[in-house]
């Protein structure tokens, strides 16, 4: 278990102090996949760098399996670090080594035989689809290839903890999927704890069990991913999640007074959002069936996560005033969040 307790970190610069972290506390369970999201400059990288002591916090404790890593001797710290893999935001591959050598880097001093090492490296390169670049140097790689090499390097030594600082930002979505699958696999099979900084909400949705949201050096919210996604507590969190669906697009369209939002007299525009795990009834069917209300979907983003729908839709309801009223009432009772966006 990784426990961050009241971590603070301030950078002094000529133009004043930058309070990068302010009293951040987090708990990351063993074998968890923990996502950290937040605005650019919120302090995510700094936080993660505190875990392996690349950044010395001004205040607070970092406990890994109950051991305060800040009070470790050099030697013990090195040992601890060998069990913590890291994928850097800027890759930090060694320019003088080939990709294979870069990936083999952390294996130095391990118990493995030369042949085992070679095989391990080879299989890692295969996993990130870089076999053909084994003998290339980092400067000969594209951005995404560099990132994949960095991923391979971080995984090759089978660490207990893997810190990923935007590990898929330079990858195309298909490769990203592959990498995420790989990460989930190492998490499940090798029991590696993953701490993932990401800007991609898909990534969080896809693999993170827990997540934390940061803003201005403060951790404003953390908890189970599903809870955060279904019922965000904080305004910033909500804004982040909104970017992951297209349900907010309607606001823009309304603002722009787009064709779609020009409703006739008997229509209303409604945004429906699922808020808890239980909703599985075919709601729209009921509306039509019960109240003879015509439902036209303008935007929808619905997904089943662990058997429950998440997301929602923006629909145009059409019918006589009474039917509309009843429909809205019915929806509200079904523990669905209903927002009437416009009616004439």
């Amino acid at each position: 278990m990784i426990e961050l307790q009241n971590i603070s970190k301030t950078f002094s610069t000529k133009s004043g102090d930058v309070r990068a972290l302010q009293n951040v506390s987090l708990q990351i369970e063993d074998r968890d996949i923990f996502g950290i999201i937040g605005f650019s400059g919120a302090g995510k990288s700094t936080l993660v760098r505190c875990i392996n002591q690349l950044e010395k916090p001004d205040q607070g404790k970092v406990l890994i399996n109950g051991q305060n890593i800040l009070s470790l001797k050099n030697r013990e710290l090195r040992k601890a670090r060998k069990k913590i893999g890291m994928i850097f935001q800027s890759f930090n591959l060694m320019p003088s080594r080939t990709i294979a050598q870069n990936v083999a880097y952390p294996l130095k001093g391990s118990q493995l035989s030369a042949q085992e090492k070679e095989e391990r490296v080879k299989s890692m390169l295969q996993l990130v689809e870089l076999e053909d670049k084994a003998d290339a140097r980092p400067h000969q790689l594209s951005g995404g290839q560099k990132q994949r090499a960095a991923i391979a390097r971080a995984l090759v030594s089978h660490p207990d903890i893997l810190l990923c600082d935007e590990a898929t930002s330079a990858l195309d979505p298909i490769t990203t999927r592959g990498i995420l699958k790989l990460l989930r696999k190492v998490n499940e099979e090798l029991g590696i704890t993953l701490v993932i900084i990401t800007h991609q909400m898909e990534v969080v949705k896809e693999i993170c069990r827990h997540a934390a949201i940061m803003e201005n050096g403060i951790c404003i919210e953390s908890g189970e991913t599903f809870d955060i996604f279904s019922s965000p507590k904080h305004e910033v969190t909500r804004r982040f999640l909104n970017t992951a669906t297209n349900l907010q697009k309607i606001d823009e369209l309304i603002e722009e007074n787009a064709e779609l939002t020009k409703l006739s007299d008997d229509e209303i525009l409604v945004r429906l959002t699922f808020t808890n795990k239980e909703t599985t009834q075919p709601l729209l069917y009921e509306l039509t069936k019960r109240f003879d209300c015509c439902v036209n979907i303008a935007f929808a983003d619905i997904e089943y996560v662990q058997g429950s729908p998440i997301g929602g839709s923006v629909v145009i309801l059409k019918g006589d005033p009474e039917a509309l009223e009843k429909s809205l009432k019915f929806l509200e009772e079904s523990s669905i969040r209903v927002e009437v966006l416009s009616h004439v």
Partner: protein, 223 residues
Amino acid sequence: MSEWFPNVQGLWSEFITAFQQTCIMLVWSGSISFLGGLILGIALVITAPKGLCENRTVHQILGFVVNLFRSIPFIILLTWVMPVTRLIMGTAINLEGAIVPLIFGTIPFFSRQVESALSSVPYGLIEAARAMGDSNWQVIFRVYLKESIAPLARAVTITLVSLLGLTAMAGAVGSGGLGDFAIRYGHDRNMQDITWLVVISIVILVCIIEVASQIIIRRHTYE
């Protein structure tokens, strides 16, 4: 040949000896200074502010010692280190006698060059190595040295050529060598052909060093 180089024939065997002496001095004091300068340079870098083993006091003491030795005019250094030379080599003259002062003259110079070369390694790489659990020694060998081969090759070249210049002065303790040969015959006795012969052979030596270093640099430049 003998028209253009009237004195060369008579001095050919001495020229050869001088050449060998220069090579011996270069190789011996070059390789020992390489080691010494490397160690000292590394020590300067890792004890520097934000270095691996930041230590202000040690850094300043080392820096001062380097500056001190660089401040002593070489001719004076030659005589000053004589007791040390005798202790180590048994004699303070001849080739053996020249090597110690040459080392004392070269190490401080090379260590500054090494300091400069190692400082060009991006900090991110050091961080990456440390994050992977490398010990300070490993960071030094696997990152600092490995990633600065090109600038180190440049440093070695500059140092070897400077060392070549020092060997000319080491003639004072009877070490012989090309530079001394040129000064004694070419310069003092005004045998221009000898001077040219020596300069040409030194140029060839320098160019060989330079070409070798260029090859290393090209192999180890990645961008």
